[in-house]
């Protein structure tokens, strides 16, 4: 014996013991048969079930709610199965049921099979999942609202800070230009400190605003044709005063003139400026800083290397995180930055479709920051 023949020998045992309920009914909705699973689940006795109409066995409320009687009649009339519905039993039990017409040898349908699966546990899990989803959704919208409030606050605060900075900066410039009388050396010395601190405050306000824009994905770039070489040169020039103070040597290395690419000039300048600023600040006096632009096939590769304090390997990824400072120590006093420069540089490079990363042999062995900018079509 093999296949279905082999099964026939113990098919009754199979039907009786499967963990699903099977009920067979005739056209008059009289129950002809129910398997053992039904009696286990319902606690009813066979004599109260077999030979009874469905509405005397299932509670009227259950039938009322599910209209299972109509669905059975429909299955009889159309000779097509009903593919599924849910039944809620008293006591919090859930069943999934199907109605399957049983075709006789002459293809007529005189009986249907009602198949029921206990899905109580599944339903419970589903409800839990739905609950958590709703909770998550609520938490998300709350967070989003808070985030928007925060962005609004930052943008307003930055606007409010820029206005007095405009006034301070204008008068400083009048002093610097000698328009408010000649200054002696001592006064000029103090004025230079005020200028550098004011410029620093202006940069901080810009950095905070940029970081907030990056976070709220409101960061936009305006692309035009740009010369990377010119931008690199002017960024180096800008930093040369600070580099001279620390007696660094700075140079720009090019194998050949790099082609023009599409990019946001002001933003790319900011990337150079942030990376060169870090190189100058994190390199002890008399160091060497080299900017190099290489023309690769599909992109320009920029590297900015220094002979500075280096970065331990485990922190190579973290350097681009917000508020990161080397070694986790608060170097902000010394470096006078909030640790936003690299976060912003990464945001700008990525907004251009490029990549940014760092290599360092370790502490005291200098660092090289790389970034790419696609050449486009």
């Amino acid at each position: 014996m093999k296949g279905i023949e082999a099964v026939r020998a113990y098919q009754e045992e199979i039907i009786e013991s499967i963990p699903s309920t099977i009920i067979v009914l005739d056209r008059g909705l009289m129950i002809l048969y129910a398997n053992r699973n039904y009696y286990l689940k319902s606690g009813k006795k066979e004599r109260d079930v077999v030979g009874q109409r469905l509405d005397r066995v299932f509670s009227p409320m259950l039938i009322e709610k599910t209209r299972i009687d109509e669905k059975i009649r429909l299955a009889f009339n159309t000779c097509t199965p009903f593919s599924g519905g849910q039944l809620r039993y008293p006591g919090g039990l859930f069943f999934f049921y199907k109605i399957h017409p049983l075709k006789e040898s002459d293809m007529s349908v005189r009986r249907v099979m009602l198949l029921m699966e206990d899905i109580t546990e599944l339903t419970r899990l589903e409800e839990e999942l739905r609950d958590s989803y709703v909770k998550l959704e609520n938490a998300y919208s709350e967070l989003k609202e808070e985030d928007e409030t925060k962005s609004y606050f930052i943008s307003t605060a930055s606007h409010e800070l820029r206005t007095p900075l405009t006034v301070i900066s204008s008068y400083l410039e009048m002093f610097e230009d000698g328009m408010l009388g000649e200054l002696n050396e001592n006064q000029y010395d103090k004025l230079a400190v005020m200028r550098s601190q004011t410029d620093h405050m202006i940069r901080l306000v810009e950095d905070i605003l940029d970081t907030s824009r990056l976070e709220s994905r409101k960061f936009k770039i305006q692309k035009q044709s740009i010369e990377l070489e010119d931008i690199a040169k002017s960024a180096i020039d800008e930093m040369s005063r600070l580099a001279d103070l620390k007696e660094h040597s700075m140079s720009l290395k090019l194998s050949k003139k790099p082609p023009q690419i599409m990019g946001d000039e002001q933003r790319i300048r900011q990337v150079f400026s942030n990376l060169i600023t870090n190189a100058v600040k994190y390199t002890p006096n008399k160091g060497r800083i080299e900017v190099e632009i290489k023309d690769e096939k599909r992109y320009l590769l920029v590297s900015i290397s220094d002979t500075g304090i280096g970065i331990p390997e485990k922190e190579h990824k973290k350097v681009f995180d917000k508020f990161y400072t080397v070694g986790g120590k608060s170097l902000t006093r010394e470096s006078e930055r909030m640790g936003l420069g690299l976060t912003i540089a990464k945001g700008i490079v990525e907004a251009h479709g490029g990549k940014i990363w760092v290599k360092s042999e370790g502490e005291g062995k200098g660092s090289t920051f790389y970034f790419t900018l696609p050449k486009g079509d």
């Binding site: 206005t163 204008s170 008068y171």
Partner: protein, 133 residues
């Protein structure tokens, strides 16, 4: 070094500064007068057009965030009255797309606060030079 962009042989160039922040107005007046310009003021967008008609300035310096009428609307008003008006927007608001809105309203240039005086003077003079050429 004194940055003097004003050419003394010419008649004093007239500027109209529109800003609601009194200290910004004072600082701009002091700076620009020291560089030889004649400065007129308005403290909001609504006053701007009346002042423009009265003073007939060579260049307007326009703030954006102001009570009553904002700078973009005020720019439109002035441009409607005088399509040849030269308006430079000076704003502390870093909203994306604002520059485009201002240029579309008819502004000739857009400068973020805080700015360097020499950059502002360069922009003012480039507009007037354009005019004279």
């Amino acid at each position: 070094m004194v940055m003097c962009y004003f050419i003394s042989s010419m008649a004093k160039m007239k500027l109209l500064v529109i800003d609601d922040a009194p200290y910004v107005l004072k600082a701009l007046r002091d700076t620009l007068e020291a560089h030889g310009y004649e400065v007129h003021e308005a403290v909001n967008g609504e006053e701007a057009l009346a002042m423009y008609k009265e003073a007939n300035p060579d260049v307007v310096l326009m703030d954006i965030l102001m009570p009553k009428m904002d700078g973009v609307s005020a720019t439109k008003c002035i441009m409607e009255y005088d399509p040849n008006a030269k308006i430079i927007v000076l704003t502390a608001m870093g909203k994306y797309g604002l520059e485009k809105d201002c240029i579309e309203a008819g502004a000739s240039d857009f400068i973020m606060k805080p700015f360097k005086t020499k950059d502002l003077l360069k922009t003012i003079n480039s507009l007037v030079k354009d005019e004279r050429n």
